[in-house]
Symmetry: C2
Subunit: 393 residues, 2 copies
């Protein structure tokens, strides 16, 4: 097991991210970016805490058109923010529903409002506002003159392309996921309740070095599963079941996101064929993923392989996405996404198909796009649907 990378990032990385944002802001005529979401605060300040699980307190970061970001955060976060890159930290005793940071934001932005400046916020696809909507509306109403513009494109452009330090973390957590999946034959067996398999697999991910397992879903059913986003059931695994586990484990705040399919005791022909098709679709995606290709191209390449086998008429949605500080990030490997792949984008390839009587299968690997093509971050699953023979301890 390789030594883990260093946690966190050097100050140079935050400085570079900020400067890149500022170059894009200048092109758009933005005087700053007002951010309120977990991933963006972390991206520009290094502020990392599980405390975002609580919706009680909002957190803000303002990236001005020059200089370092300004943090506007609850008192409780000041010691942690001080340990990082940001110098200008303004705080209030949150929660304070009558003024949860609004007064501080108002003071910061008023000079910009007076000169009728434009400030970027995140309003676009895959973004969420990190404060109550009423507070947002109040803030906007109180800053007459200030124009708010959607800056999703700026943050998207930055975050889609990963630094070498980010790729190291992603490679590390993908290796952790691969090692945990490699132990599935020891963890899964006939008679084990699906719920117990999930629990054992979570514990294995942690034992292999994951910090957290924020995401684990799966499916199981005789001759295939029907659903891929459910929590586990209490029923036992049976011979002939096809089982899928899909995990988003994290290390230092970066996600892996891939899955494995396997059968208990025996695999039916239809499921074996589905696995073969998806394996080849993924293979085609791996071969095609290189700088200059669009997300739609990559989607089409995988869909073509599946189209030769799948008779389903439904819309297959997307077949992969960006991966980083969030389980799913821009871009989408989908017909609507014309994003051109660049070196150091990290992606999931995630082809899926319907088969048989309402069955479906999804397969997923993680790659980083290099100058010469895709480099796998997850250990490639074998072409043949693995069969776990064991009837239990």
């Amino acid at each position: 097991m390789a030594d883990p990378p260093v946690r966190g990032f050097g100050e140079a990385e935050y400085a570079a991210r900020t400067e890149r944002a500022q170059r894009l802001m200048a092109r758009r005529g933005l005087a700053g970016l007002l951010l309120s979401s977990e991933a963006e605060l972390r991206y520009f300040s290094g502020f990392q805490t599980p405390f975002w699980q609580s919706p009680t307190r909002p957190w803000f970061l303002f990236v001005p058109d020059r200089g370092k970001p300004v943090a506007i955060i609850p008192d409780i976060g000041v010691p942690l923010m001080r340990a990082g890159w940001v110098d200008d930290i303004r705080s209030w005793p949150a929660p304070r529903p009558s003024d949860d940071g609004l007064g501080l934001l108002h003071d910061l932005l008023l000079p910009l409002a007076r000169r009728k400046a434009r400030v970027g916020i995140l309003k676009g696809h895959e973004t969420r506002l990190g404060m109550p909507l009423a507070d947002h509306e109040k803030l906007v109403a109180g800053l007459a003159g200030l124009r708010f513009a959607d800056a999703t494109g700026i943050v998207r452009a930055l975050r889609m392309v990963k630094s070498s330090a980010e790729i190291e973390k992603l490679a590390h957590v993908c290796a952790i996921g691969s090692r945990a999946f490699a132990r599935l034959p020891e963890l899964a067996h006939e008679g084990l309740p699906q719920e117990a398999l999930f629990r054992a697999f979570r514990r294995e991910l942690l034992a292999q070095g994951a910090d957290e397992v924020p995401y684990l879903v799966g499916g199981a059913g005789e001759g295939g599963y029907r659903d891929v986003i459910s929590p586990p059931g209490a029923w036992p695994l049976r011979p002939g079941d096809v089982v899928m586990l899909d995990t988003g484990a994290t290390w230092d705040g970066y996600y892996c996101d891939f899955d494995r399919n396997f059968a208990i005791a025996r695999a039916d022909d239809a499921s074996r064929r589905a696995h073969d098709v998806l394996w080849r679709a993924t293979e085609a995606g791996i071969a095609a993923a290189r700088p200059g290709v669009t997300c739609r191209d990559l989607f089409d390449v995988m869909r073509r392989v599946i189209g030769q086998a799948d008779t389903a008429t439904g819309d297959v949605g997307r077949m992969g996405h960006g991966l980083g500080m969030q389980l799913t990030e821009w871009p989408s490997l989908a017909g609507f996404d014309e994003t051109v792949l660049e070196e150091n984008m990290v992606l999931t390839l995630e082809p899926s198909m319907a088969y048989g009587q309402g069955r479906m299968m999804v397969h997923e690997e993680n790659i980083v796009v290099r100058a010469n093509g895709a480099q796998l971050l997850s250990d490639r699953t074998p072409p043949d649907l693995p069969v776990i023979a064991g009837s239990g301890p």
Copy 2:
């Protein structure tokens, strides 16, 4: 170890929740509630999935003024939603950035817009919009005549008071947390990196029956810790360290949220005194928590105990909060919260204090408010700061 409760809820529970919401909606003249947040979708439909980790797709539920809720969700969620209580499920092939549910929402709400109805959405304290802001603005702009009102008070009133089935789940997960904390003397020892302690404790929570551990923070430092929301560091535990672990583990989507403090090998006097003060503050909170008392009363009761010992001048913020489907929920045990406690509210009591040179301590227990007073859900921590003697395996 007691058998776990039954997972999920019966249809009667969803029907009762919906009817209660409808009674409150009638009083406010609302034709429906448009919901887009995880906890609220789960509360009214039973739809439970870790898939919310992905921000790519929005999910909507409309609770009309009579009848069952209507789900407007991505195709990928239809099989899971169908397994639940909701009958009217409308879906689209998400992600589709050009129309991620907006067309379906528009069709649903247009008749209400035509009769200039009022629809409730969540805009208030501790709420978040579950869709991109630009999509929300587009929806509102496209429904001229429809008036949107803040319905936070309705959902807050409902969710604050737990059903007996909810309390069973909360009691179960608190018992899991208590059993895991009881094993700390076997898990923690001098020389163990804080990070390894966190990992071992997460695995223990899972072994004791937790489904997930979405929240684990802590602090450690000689003679006390300085920060309570950080992820763990790599440094080893040393004699004289005061260590705190605070976990939000879940079972069937319900959280425990309490912490434990302990010292490694020996405890300094100041930390022992702080623990004693917080233990007594909690005791006062337990004694005072009963129907009819306000959150502010409960806050004052605990603050008075701390005030006798703490010389810190800073604002102590709040000293506890609601607990349920989220790590922190309404109400707040704080000076600003006049909520009157009702039977079957589940709360954390979480007094904290500053002491020494920039040290702080926080203590937390979980209770349910019964007709005759508080019932503990977490096993009460001992009055004296526990000292873990072991120098390791």
